[in-house]
Assembly symmetry: C2
Homo-oligomer: 318 residues x 2
């Protein structure tokens, strides 16, 4: 198979590229390197089955050209910064919704019909049912990020119905692991490097969070794309576990050998639009035989270890 | 109150403008007259409380300028042609999703926080629960139109959460009545004028449809905007009735005094992405004391009568 991976120089995209190459597939990565890193593709570049196409999704002709000959598109490129939606509302619309439309059109131009898409548990807003199943009641969106990802899902579904596409939609919890580029672990790591004795924590520290290790995430995605053949296949990806921000802080500081005094900003969420709790029902993906190999604690610790070995990320991710 | 009505020269928008003026409000209509009609504003133009602002939503500065001083925005401007989505997939994205974002941004620039929005029962896709309640399981979109309207809902909700907006979202069945500009009644009317003896019907004629009279639709909207004060207020608007396409054909031909032979194209839907059955649970809006005054048959007959008196529409709506 020849896979085309948008955002292939990003966190999940580059891990997926490596995995697909390991499985003997041909891979084309498409990335504009605005948030992606060339360092993430060092292994892939050594493979004869790998092609790097540098470009933005906004460059519609280039995108369609680069996609030629692919059998399957993993569309991971996105504005993944959930927190900043309110300071530039156009960004989620353009980089998520409109760019997903551009990917679908490039596929249509090339006669490619299978797409895997990284959606998010944020589409559930403040879910009434927890753990939240895929067929939860229609949610009210609470962030521009969630709203834009929900819009992408709808586009993919409409293309599936109208143009005979096959859509694989994955609603992730937050993902941790190698090449993790931004989020709470790197934020805390950076703060601790600046001052190992005192650390500010957004919210009250009791915000509950669920995380999944990137390797487990890839296993889940490939299990679904291999086994499922519906027109539209929607799966929550997460673990059965959750933790509090305070747990995670404990694991991080212990791993780094620090014991900082914590200063909480207060309130039950870190920022406007932050979900107090995203915890997904993962029965559907588990019914396919998948289960995560790592606990949340192990995923956090691997992430800390990875950042330690790649401190260049602290600058790059600013 | 000063209301700003996008698509105010359209079917529902112009009826709303007249109604608001009758209630003593100030009204600004914003329309680009691509599908709107100046004829629809003849009554409104006579009022001293009425302002017409001609412009496209794409003209962001003009839009923000025209909106100045308004208290409430009814956003009715949209690509409402559900059937043609597949021939120009960009249209629903641009005219619905992106333009709704533009309306929200113009509101934000002006400090206006209340918005009423015409969504659609099409967002339920092929609903599993019928009649379909507002909190049905997250649907899989089956049309670009439905997908785009769902995306608009998400944007409004995210603005409500993030920017303190108040959103009123109405999921309509098809609306009938005075100024009805396109859809099955006008299609059949046109066909019957061309050949009163024989008429082609898309599908098998057993497609079930539910319709609501435009006057009842306005009553419902204004009941909600008056009584409800949640951050996000979502209401299905429809009747407890439904009919088959064949029923509607019978009422139309009887009203016109024709008795054509019917030729069915076959299949259980009129076009790809057509829902075989949109039938909404309207308990929520009924709980506010609203109920429709007209039956579907009466709504169809009023529409036929209106077209008869306004045959210029047959040309204009082509």
């Amino acid at each position: 198979m020849h896979y085309f991976v948008t955002g292939g120089a990003g966190f999940i995209g580059s891990n997926m590229a490596d995995r697909l190459l390991q499985c003997g597939h041909r891979v084309t990565v498409y990335d504009n390197f605005v948030t992606g890193h060339r360092e993430y593709l060092e292994d892939a570049m050594k493979s004869g089955s790998f092609t790097l196409a540098e470009g933005a999704l906004e460059e519609e002709d280039k995108l369609a050209q680069a996609m030629k000959g692919a059998d399957f598109v993993f569309h991971f490129a996105a504005n993944a910064d959930v927190r900043m939606g309110l300071s530039h509302p156009r960004k989620d619309l353009e980089q998520n919704t409109i760019n997903t439309y551009r990917v679908l059109e490039a596929m249509r131009a090339n006669g490619i019909k299978r797409i895997g898409f990284s959606s998010t548990g944020s589409i559930y807003g403040e879910a009434e049912v927890i753990p939240t199943p895929e067929d939860a009641p229609i949610p009210v969106q609470t962030s521009l990020y969630g709203a834009s990802k929900m819009a992408c899902e709808g586009l993919i579904e409409a293309y599936a119905e109208g143009f005979g596409f096959q859509g694989y939609i994955f609603r992730f919890v937050s993902i941790l692991g190698e090449r993790y580029p931004h989020g709470h672990v790197i934020d805390f790591y950076r703060k601790l490097k600046a001052d190992p004795h005192k650390m500010e924590v957004l919210g009250d520290g009791h915000q509950k969070k669920s995380y999944l290790y990137v390797g487990d995430c890839l296993d889940a995605i490939l299990t679904v794309t291999e086994k499922c053949r519906e027109k539209v296949n929607i799966f929550n990806l997460g673990t059965d576990e959750y933790c509090e921000v305070n747990d995670s802080i404990g694991w991080i500081t212990e791993r780094l050998g620090y014991d900082p005094e914590l200063a909480y900003t207060g309130g039950d969420r870190g920022w406007v639009g932050d979900n107090p709790f995203i915890y997904l029902d993962t029965q559907k993906i588990r019914s396919l035989g998948w289960k995560p190999k790592l606990t949340i604690r192990e995923a956090v610790e691997r992430t800390v270890d990875y950042i330690k070995e790649n401190e260049w990320l602290l600058e790059a991710a600013k």
